[in-house]
Point group: C2
Chain length 344, copies 2
Amino acid sequence: MDNAEPKSPQRRRTPGRASVTIRDVARHAGVSVATVSRALRGSDLVHPATRERVDAAIEALRFTPSQLGRSLAERRHAANGIVFPDLSGPFYAEVVLGYEEVAATLGRSVLILSTHNRDSADEMVLELAGRVDGLAVFGRTVHDDVVAEVVQRGVPVVLMARTEIEGADSVRTENVVAAASVVDHLLEHGHRRMAFLGDPVDSTDVAERWAGFRGALAQAGAEVPEQAIPAGFKEDDGARVAADLVAGGLPDVVVCANDELALGLTVALAEQGIEVPGDVALTGWDDVMAARYAGLTTVRQPMREMGARAARMLDARISGDRSEPRHDVLTTQLVVRSSCGPHP
Amino acid sequence: MDNAEPKSPQRRRTPGRASVTIRDVARHAGVSVATVSRALRGSDLVHPATRERVDAAIEALRFTPSQLGRSLAERRHAANGIVFPDLSGPFYAEVVLGYEEVAATLGRSVLILSTHNRDSADEMVLELAGRVDGLAVFGRTVHDDVVAEVVQRGVPVVLMARTEIEGADSVRTENVVAAASVVDHLLEHGHRRMAFLGDPVDSTDVAERWAGFRGALAQAGAEVPEQAIPAGFKEDDGARVAADLVAGGLPDVVVCANDELALGLTVALAEQGIEVPGDVALTGWDDVMAARYAGLTTVRQPMREMGARAARMLDARISGDRSEPRHDVLTTQLVVRSSCGPHP
DNA sequence: CCGGTTTATGTAACCGGTACCAAAGGAGCG
DNA sequence: CGCTCCTTTGGTACCGGTTACATAAACCGG
């Protein structure tokens, strides 16, 4: 009965605490590990009396099954990953929230990775891919070939707000029509000379907004600017262009690629004595909380829904859905406030 | 050489893709798994020529070591968890960001869990605890006994913005002094009748702010309200109390437990024709982005630093630090804007 | 009272790595 | 030339679960 005392190289034990394993439980309950495992998973056929003994042992030993051992045996992580550039915007948080909520409901943990423009981002993503059953990637955070590599390894990927990639699902929000509706609204205000602030090269979303913007202007026979004014996504980036904008002669309105740009620009302009919307009108994009209080006209995107949908798409893939990749487009909504000027 | 053909029950293969393992690499390179493992970990002493063969095999087979197998063998997850109530505030996102940034630098992945007031939160936390090397818990998201249970299992825990628990480190921000400085500032404005909006029972932070608020009023010989006006943390909660506040006779100022409350209240009051700061002054707490644009006087907390510090504390514990639990308190900063009235 | 099921449990081979221990082969030295 | 010592490498027992397969016990109608 009490075997293996002499031969065994005496359980190597790490400095850390000795965690109690399924075999300890089995011994304590006087059954085999198989039985404990079965009792653990509730399901199968275990005699009530036996189950009781096992439960008692589990209780007595305060046993918790190791997720690691379980995952290895089941060959699934029961976890999803999500990659985004930087949580700092008030914006990504919503996406993550929607994602997490659905994933949790589906019994999957969520691993987050923020790339912060780190050089090592690519490796970090690959590493992450090895820890999850599926991965959501937001925007231009990761190089195409890295995403392709992940897909190629068989890990389902959903892209969010990003150009499509062979073999991966995607969710994004509508941009072209929304940008056109912004422009149309501004035209109704009587604004004619419009500038666009944001770098179309930097993001698919911005590129589409820029395209929609130009298209609508052209269609209306209004003047179409040659180029967008390049800028990042932060308030600082908006503030930085204020001087140039003034020096170059103010347009009637500046359509900004996101709210933070518009807000930063508003403040910087005010410092130069230029009023919004009196001297120049502005619009943003995203409808962050601050936009409400700043009276910023903007476009609302269903960020939380986007995260939620990504999580559901991944779940379907992980569960074996082999159908053609889907590419969902969520509709957006123009939110008119005061920054575009008094209603005509 | 080519053994085990007849006896082996022929590798059970799951429906999924057959991932390439370290043994495949070993076979391909004509070496043992031990050698591959050594080559993999870079370190050890492997003959350059051998290493080259192994690398070639890895390349050829597009092998990626399984994090699962590795974690199981190393008995570490290389991952930390963080639990918070709800990401939706513009506020928690910062904490998570700081946490993630440091954790990533230290080579740990981050698992997030948002409890959303779900009933199953406790089990979810316990489950999470089984997947990580350390856990950060924000606020009153989890019952004390659940946290204790996690600690008892030997998983290091750091509490954020929460009352201390035996055996766990904690980080929080200073509240009492800050609340007093808010009150002092308001007294300088000449405000005397002050109300406090927020539920002290709901959160340790709020309780401390309420205490600091009362203390400062008492010290100044001003009228001390019997009770705080209970409210949650959302804009809606702020809006909801507007009517009662007006009906009960407006105080000189309402000190709110967070910015969202103050902002929601501002809007609701405006709808009733009551101006801030003309008819009533307001202050918030957190200094979210919207507070800047709404001109809200508030208290800034170093949220990102809080997350970062929690991650560092956990790292120390995981690395074997057995010293007494630390309880860090981060200093906060009064940010004066227009909502408290014109300067005297 | 017996062969045939059905139910309950045990045995052991995985999952995919890590690392201890031993052995092989080469170099250096008296 | 024999003998240590050191560098490389291989064999294998883990880590902590799951589960296919075998086995034993209990049940059943004829």
